[in-house]
């Protein structure tokens, strides 16, 4: 088959249509650049701005989404990037699957705004249906999940717990318990820090009021989820006492981890677990920019600033970006204090028993791993990380449990169709995979399915 696949040309290709990607694409397009944004979700906004079904976006989200529409940037949704490389003329090529059809996007510059995902840590029962992420619950709620009358426990860590508790309650759920694993001392000192940022304080008070009556405990965490076929109750503990709480939905997650697959595939330098960038949001690879959570978990306000800086600089307007440097520096300091507050306690490393599944795709239990291994050995000996999610869930868990570094990233970075992989934008059947990492076999193990 030699049919050429659809080829889009751009000055700037933006991966991810969350706040950082929207801001970057809008700023670049307003400056006259041909900007194309791709995102695998069915709507723009990223996890934070995607509107709840029946509730159109409001406020800042709406203003930016409308600004993106006016900017002239081309938006392609439902589009997953499966590979990225430089062609022989030095242009970047993104291989994209858009609703199952292969598309290629060629651009002189690339902006990574790939956002973050939740960190999950394994504990007995965490594979039961009804155990979802904290952000996961929010995402499912926005996508139409009905939680009316459902008893919900939220147990994990980070600033997401309170807003998600409030929105679940607002949607009719009974929030039975909210457990934050961080110590009370740390959370209180963080909350006091909010006095220096009145808007954040108002948010915190509103969220707390949003689920008044539900127990909120710091220094508590989930030890086990139980049920037959679906979660029915959870065991919560503070290390000395424990409580069994009946529930229909357990929301759990331990902060966010940046999505670095594309940055690593392109060879961008990773420093301390995040993409290293200079003051203009340039990565170590010429022509590749990065903004938002991949440069460090910092939230929507920081993502917006970084996106604007990157978009302006990529479009050749660095002078206009400069005024955004001081507020960006301020928000980066806040993010660092957030990270200290919600540092994960050691007890969480000891929750999984030898039988607890760690790699959910390949059903690899905790007992199959040896702490002395490298992640590559773990992969070869157990198939952990070789299923459809390609280690996106078990990778950060194993990194936390054993201190293992992330394994090498190869294309395709998501399960992809052969029909799209074997066609190149030039119309030939030549394998045009990344130079140093030729297209790997599909993520298709014996258990795929």
């Amino acid at each position: 088959m030699t049919a050429a696949l659809e080829l889009l040309d751009a000055d700037l290709a933006v991966v991810g249509a969350g706040p950082a990607g929207i801001a970057a694409a809008a700023c670049a397009a307003e400056s006259g650049a041909r900007a194309v944004v791709v995102d695998e979700s069915p709507r723009v906004g990223g996890q934070i701005w995607r509107p709840r079904l029946g509730h159109p976006p409001r406020g800042t989200a709406r203003r930016w989404i409308e600004r993106l529409e006016r900017s002239g940037a081309v938006v392609r949704i439902g589009a997953s990037v499966i590979d990225a490389y430089r062609d022989d003329r030095g242009a970047f090529v993104l291989r994209v699957e858009e609703q199952g059809m292969p598309v290629a996007l060629r651009a002189s510059q690339l902006l990574l705004a790939t956002g973050a995902r939740e960190r999950f840590l394994p504990f007995p029962g965490w594979t039961l249906p009804g155990v979802v992420g904290i952000g996961g619950a929010q995402a499912l709620l926005k996508a139409g999940m009905d939680v009316r009358g459902k008893r919900v426990v939220i147990a994990g860590s980070g600033p997401l717990l309170l807003p998600v508790a409030a929105s679940l309650r607002g949607a009719g759920a009974q929030v039975a318990f909210v457990a934050e694993q961080a110590s009370p001392r740390r959370v209180v000192s963080f909350a006091l820090g909010l006095w220096r940022r009145p808007a954040a304080l108002v948010d915190a008070v509103r969220y707390r009021a949003g689920f008044a009556g539900a127990p909120y405990r710091t220094g508590w965490w989930v030890r086990e989820a139980r049920g037959e076929g679906v979660v029915r109750e959870v065991v919560l503990t503070d290390g000395r006492h424990s409580r069994v709480v009946p529930c229909d939905l357990l929301c759990t997650g331990y902060g966010l981890v940046p999505n670095l697959e594309l940055a690593r595939l392109l060879g961008c330098a990773i420093e301390g677990g995040v993409v290293g960038v200079d003051e203009a949001q340039r990565t170590s690879v010429a022509g590749v920019w990065c903004a938002g959570e991949p440069t460090g978990i910092g939230g929507v306000d920081l993502a917006l600033l970084e996106g604007q800086v990157a978009g302006l600089c990529a479009a050749g307007r660095p002078d206009e970006a400069r005024r955004l440097f001081p507020p960006r520096a301020r928000l980066r300091r806040m993010a660092a204090s957030m990270e200290r507050t919600f540092a994960l306690r050691d007890e969480l490393r000891a929750l999984a028993t030898p039988q607890t599944i760690v790699c959910r795709c390949e059903d690899v239990p905790m007992g199959a791993f040896d702490a002395a291994w490298s992640p590559r050995q773990a992969k070869l000996y157990t198939r952990a990380g070789m299923g459809p999610c390609q280690g996106r869930v078990c990778g950060p868990a194993l990194a936390h449990l054993y201190g293992w570094p992330a394994d090498v990233v190869r294309a395709p970075i998501e399960p992809a169709r052969l029909s799209g992989l074997h066609r190149s934008p030039e119309g030939s059947d030549a394998n045009a995979g990344s130079g140093e990492s030729p297209a790997a076999p599909l993520a298709k193990g014996p258990h795929f399915g």
């Binding site: 029946g54 992420g133 952000g135 499912l140 139409g144 959910r360 059903d363 869930v393």
Partner: protein
């Protein structure tokens, strides 16, 4: 509730008819229909959506004959035919 749940679509899951609000994801529609065994693990255990945002692949189903679709990323549509993966290993 301000949701306009009056406009619904009908779709089929493993041969059974269901309805869902327009704009719902297939994942949310499955859970609302009480279907918590969205996928089956190697040992036969039921699995259901975890991340809700296209990362974990726990919600993968066959939609209109196309296998391995992430139900959380696909909006449900009128007449859609969804097959959950019940132990066949696909």
């Amino acid at each position: 509730m301000t949701d306009d749940v009056r406009s619904t679509v009908s779709f089929v899951v493993d041969g059974e008819p269901h309805r869902a609000a327009v704009g719902s994801s297939v994942a949310a529609a499955l859970l609302n229909a009480g279907i918590w065994r969205v996928r089956q693990a190697v040992d036969g255990a039921p699995r259901a959506p975890l991340c809700g945002m296209g990362v974990c692949y726990e919600c993968r189903v066959t939609i209109d004959g196309v296998a391995h679709q992430r139900a959380c990323l696909v909006p449900v549509a009128e007449g859609m035919n969804v097959r959950t993966i019940g132990g066949s290993g696909e």
